[in-house]
Symmetry: C2
Subunit: 469 residues, 2 copies
């Protein structure tokens, strides 16, 4: 495991210095030293006593301790043996829903009987902003540096992401019934197009379409979005092969096809698509998803909480599909750091496969980092610590009692780590969180605004008895 890729970059650095006859070290912005570096590169190289050098928003070198001498850094983070790894990528959430967390958790047919009515009553620009601010804080503190979101008023989410400094793919919802920011699917598409136009050049935000699901949109709308997404070169995020109701509606609409077959038939499976959940799929569906290079968000915690079942995520991962971990929204998951998914993903796949060796920790960490980057088709930019990649990096405390000792860092992360063990978080080269203190937003103010909104929720839907908890 201890391949020293650093030798190459160190040699290049040395050659550069020699050729310019300058023996001084190269200037960088940030040097992380004394780290257990999990690169998550193709060889899964691990550097004990490792070093990561960052210049601007990019990683310029990753290697062993000898690398430190090659650089003059504005800022040095000596992490005293802690784990340094790629920032986590949450491939599926609805961040703004934090303000609804712990409402009606176990109501049957919850989406249609509880959540849609709740949203009809309470979703607004303010709610989306306030909820996203809280979700961002929770994710960043839990080591999530990039997330993929599906909700309404995504331009409000975008402002909060811009402010805190994280990276995100933000998908504006398109759905066939009236919602807070659109009277119908056509208006939803137009809202998305305006949002895409506004954010298409943002360095950290990728605007996207988010048709809610195959069964909550018409074939025509799904085809139109597919066409527009290819024209504008933006992602499409959708809930896919998730529920029995979806199966029934799509089977009726398509003469017995599965949701994935139907999407393939109407031309909606493309490399721009990211499907969330993907539980109800068979081998033919999986082959279609692979053929069309579709990304997949695996949300174990939400899927078992809702008793929907276990996605064949391990099979899809082993078959080479683009698949990464997601948390789903805070009414589903209910937390937003994929650290909380790690041990559930590892253990539930062992349980259903009746094999304690199934889904080993290294695969879980792959699905949380470079696998999740692949799911979002961003693996050339993020998901591993390699020279030239964007500097999205987290440091995980190994001194907390639950993390002591670490014989195997993957195992410690998957079976022992809490989201709160994430100590520092760096996005695009900026240290956004140091020693659990977020530098870019006022966490107390974010919480206070969320609690004020929660009072409004209590008055509106709980005390009125309008929506039964």
């Amino acid at each position: 495991m201890m391949l020293k890729k650093s030798l190459l970059s160190a040699s290049v650095a040395l050659a550069t210095m020699m050729s310019s006859a300058v023996l001084a070290a190269e200037n960088v912005d940030l040097l992380i030293t004394d780290a257990t570096v999990l690169t998550m590169n193709a060889d899964k190289t691990v550097f004990e006593n490792g070093v990561v050098a960052v210049k601007g928003n990019k990683i310029v070198a990753v290697g062993d301790e000898s690398l430190a001498d090659d650089y003059n850094a504005k800022k040095v983070l000596d992490v005293d043996g802690d784990i340094v790894m790629p920032g986590l990528i949450n491939t599926h959430t609805h961040a703004s829903m934090t303000v609804f967390r712990s409402l009606g958790d176990d109501v049957p047919d919850r989406l249609h009987r509880y959540i849609f009515p709740l949203e009809k009553k309470l979703v607004s620009r303010d709610m989306v902003r306030i909820g996203a601010q809280l979700g961002n804080v929770e994710m960043l503190k839990g080591g999530v540096t990039t997330y993929a979101d599906m909700y309404y008023f995504e331009d409000e989410v975008a402002k909060t992401v811009d402010q805190i400094g994280m990276r995100a793919i933000l998908g504006e919802t398109v759905i066939k019934f009236p919602v807070a920011d659109a009277a119908n699917a056509e208006e939803g598409i137009q809202y998305a197009l305006n949002f895409i136009e506004e954010y298409k050049d943002h360095p950290r935000i990728t605007p996207a379409f988010a048709p809610h699901a195959p069964y909550t949109n018409t074939t025509e709308v799904l085809q139109k979005i597919t066409k527009l997404s290819l024209e504008h070169d933006v992602p499409v995020m959708i809930h896919l092969a998730e529920s029995d109701r979806e199966n029934e509606v799509i089977a009726e609409r398509s003469g017995g096809k599965s949701p994935v077959e139907y999407m393939a038939d109407i031309g909606a499976l493309t490399p721009n698509l990211v499907g969330a959940h993907v539980i109800n799929v068979d081998d033919e569906d999986i082959a279609l998803l692979k053929k069309h290079d579709v990304g997949i968000a695996h949300n174990m915690s939400a899927n078992i909480k809702s008793a929907k079942g276990v996605s064949p995520a391990l099979q899809m991962f082993d078959d080479g599909l683009r698949i990464g971990l997601g948390t789903d929204g805070p009414m589903s998951g209910n937390t937003l750091s994929t650290v909380d998914e790690f041990n559930q993903v590892a253990k539930v796949h062992k349980l259903v496969n009746k094999d304690r060796a199934a889904m080993p920790p290294v695969k879980v960490i792959e699905m949380a980092t470079i696998g999740a980057a692949r799911a979002l088709h961003m693996e050339d930019k993020i998901g591993s610590l390699e020279t030239g990649k964007l500097a999205d990096i987290i440091v995980v405390d190994t001194k907390a009692p639950n993390m002591v000792p670490v014989y195997n860092p993957y195992s410690a992360l998957v079976y022992s780590a809490y989201a709160t063990n994430v100590k520092h978080a760096i996005v695009d080269g900026q240290v956004l969180m140091q020693d659990r203190d977020i530098k870019t937003v006022d966490e107390d103010a974010v919480r206070k605004e969320a609690l004020q909104f929660a009072d409004k929720v209590r008055q509106t839907v709980i005390e009125s008895g309008e929506i039964v908890q």
Copy 2:
């Protein structure tokens, strides 16, 4: 839910004061105010703006805010709306094994091929002490105030429990092959008897027998321990109905009986017994466990990690058996706070029952508190916040971003809380942890000693290649 039981105790207090013609408030040692109190009493009373009064090692009153005026407290903890609940009770662990955590996590036939050889090589008085110290710190920081332990050199564990101030049932292992502190089962029994004699009058420590499992002990030894446990009135803790190997060995020994039937037949099912895991049981087994009033430790996280299956814990709970949550040891679980079990217990039972309403959060919290107390036959002393019970109390932070907002405290605890959200911990009336700072032991020293031992483990079994990771 808001039954005001406090009215009764307040009236009693008032009557007492009037009779002595003293209008002054009663002196207490500790008053917890402005709390969301989950009493976990029979009515599941919740007090918003609640108060808990503690005098000596006992709870003297629990009620609403009006109660505060009745007491003069040496120390007041205003918890600003945070959740106040009974200390968590971990019904099954092997605390000392923290020093082995993250070793060989997914090795097939792990107990016999990996753990027993590892223990043969490395278990010692020092190892047991060092590991237990770390386990204690981890548990207390995760809100565990009482735990049930099965290991070797339990007198060493006892010293660490005495020092940190927690409550514990400590079971000295009896097993038929040579182990670190006994050459055979007879020596194990003698070791246990000496330990029981030494600790039988300790206020917080209950010494116990811990025959490893039915299949790793003879019928004669199991019967002898049963007899001695009744004579000495001490608990017996055992791994029960856990593995396929156990099923096979016991079936062969008993002419086809299940482990539970076999234990009943040999007279080893008694109200002193606590069975850990209890996965491989049918309706007849469950009826036997109920008839003999056996306690049960449900260790979801460890059971699914090892792919052993899911215990019918929900059925046993609903049938009125004595059942509580446990973590199992840190090579199995791998963390030691039952907070980490909450969401897995809630979700995996939903998954296997195909019902999102199964195992609602309030049942999980019951199994973590008063249910766990019942499993250990300690429900008259701990497990709920009621007048006269021992003052084992925890406070859970509701301001952490993952906990905001709290519409339903049970749901917030089960689906959102991290062990690290536990802010204060009180055992036997003593504030052992305040603002996550443990008062009674030096956490840094504990960690350092554990890391030194881990270096020895690395040298002995990893670098030598003697036990393959």
